[in-house]
Symmetry: C2
Subunit: 177 residues, 2 copies
C-alpha cells in the first residue's frame, strides 16, 4: 500500500482517492423509482446529520449510471446493511447487470418505492435538497418511516480499501464509556 | 440490542438514532482555528463526494461545543485516523477537556491551521459551502493539500454501536474483484 507522507508527489486527485480508499465506511443501498422503473446503487457515503428532525446525507457520483434517476426521485429508500447482506451490496455495486432482475429480492412499499426486505434496516425518506458538488450531488434526506429484517447478530458490514469487512467482537478495540 | 422490525413502535427520533448507531463509520478528527484558538472534534460523518475536484463532506452537530468555531472557519484540516490513533479519536470526542492542552500532540501548518502530525492521513481544505440541516450543518470542503504520518499496518479505525473497532485481515469477508 502507498503511504502518504510527502505532499505533491502525485496529483491531488490521486492522493485524494488514495486517502479515502483507506477511510472505512458503512455500506448502504439506495433505491428509488422516479417513474421509469426501479433503480438502486450501493453507497458508502450515507451518514446521519441530525436526529431531530431525522436527517441523513449521501452523495451520488457523476459516474454512476443509476445516479440520474435517483437524483430525480422525490422519495427514496436507504437500506443500512449488515454483513449478512453482502450479496445485496455486491449486486448494487455491479455495473452492467439488471439489479432488479431477481423479483424475489425486492418489493414495493405501500407508498410505491422499491425496497429490499432482507436489509437489516431501511429508512424511507423525502429528498429535501440536492447540492451540486463538482460532477457529484450531495443529497439531504429526511427520514419518514423505518423498517427492516433485523438480524443484528451477523455483525456490521464495512467497506475499506476495496475489501468488505465484518465487525464483531473480534474486531473490537474498546467500548466507549 | 434492539431489532427494528415494526415501524411506529417508538418515536421516529429514537428509531433514527438506533439505526445509525449500528451503521459503521470511519473515524476522523476535524481541526480549525477561526481566530479564537485551535478547536477540534471527532467526526464519523466524513465522506468523499468527488475526486476531481477533490471534495468531501461532513456534518456538524448543533450540540457540539466546538461546532460553532469550526463552522466559522474558512479552512480546516480533516484527519483520517488509523487504529493506532484511537487516543486522538477519544481525546477529540471527550467533552469538558482542553483538547489542545498537550502541546506535543499538535502543531500548525505553514498556512496556520492546527493539525495532528500523528494522524495517518490529513487533508487541508477550503470550506465551499455550509448547508443548514435542522440544527446541524453539512460542510462541503475542497481538499487543497495532503500529508500524514502513514502507518497503514495498524489497520483502519471504525466506530460502530459506541464501540471502536480495528479492521484487519481477520475482519475481511471478501476482497472486491
Amino acid at each position: 500500500m502507498t503511504t502518504i507522507t510527502a505532499p505533491h508527489q502525485s496529483s491531488i486527485r490521486d492522493e485524494f482517492i488514495d486517502a479515502f480508499r483507506r477511510h472505512a465506511a458503512g455500506v448502504a443501498v439506495v433505491t428509488a423509482d422516479a417513474g421509469d422503473g426501479p433503480v438502486g446503487l450501493t453507497a458508502t457515503s450515507v451518514s446521519s446529520v441530525s436526529a431531530d428532525p431525522p436527517l441523513l446525507v449521501f452523495s451520488l457520483s457523476g459516474r454512476s449510471s443509476s445516479a440520474p434517476a435517483i437524483r430525480r426521485a422525490s422519495t427514496l429508500v436507504v437500506h443500512l446493511l449488515g454483513a449478512d447482506q453482502l450479496q445485496l451490496a455486491q449486486l448494487f455495486a455491479t455495473s452492467g447487470v439488471d439489479r432488479f432482475a431477481d423479483r424475489s429480492r425486492w418489493s414495493r412499499l405501500s407508498s410505491g418505492e422499491p425496497y429490499l426486505p432482507a436489509a437489516r434496516t431501511w429508512l424511507r425518506g423525502h429528498v429535501l435538497e440536492r447540492i451540486p458538488a463538482g460532477d457529484a450531488t450531495v443529497v439531504l434526506v429526511q427520514a419518514l418511516e423505518f423498517g427492516g429484517a433485523g438480524g443484528e447478530a451477523s455483525g456490521a458490514l464495512v467497506y475499506h480499501d476495496r475489501t468488505w469487512h465484518r465487525l464483531d467482537d473480534r474486531s473490537t478495540v474498546e467500548t466507549r464509556s
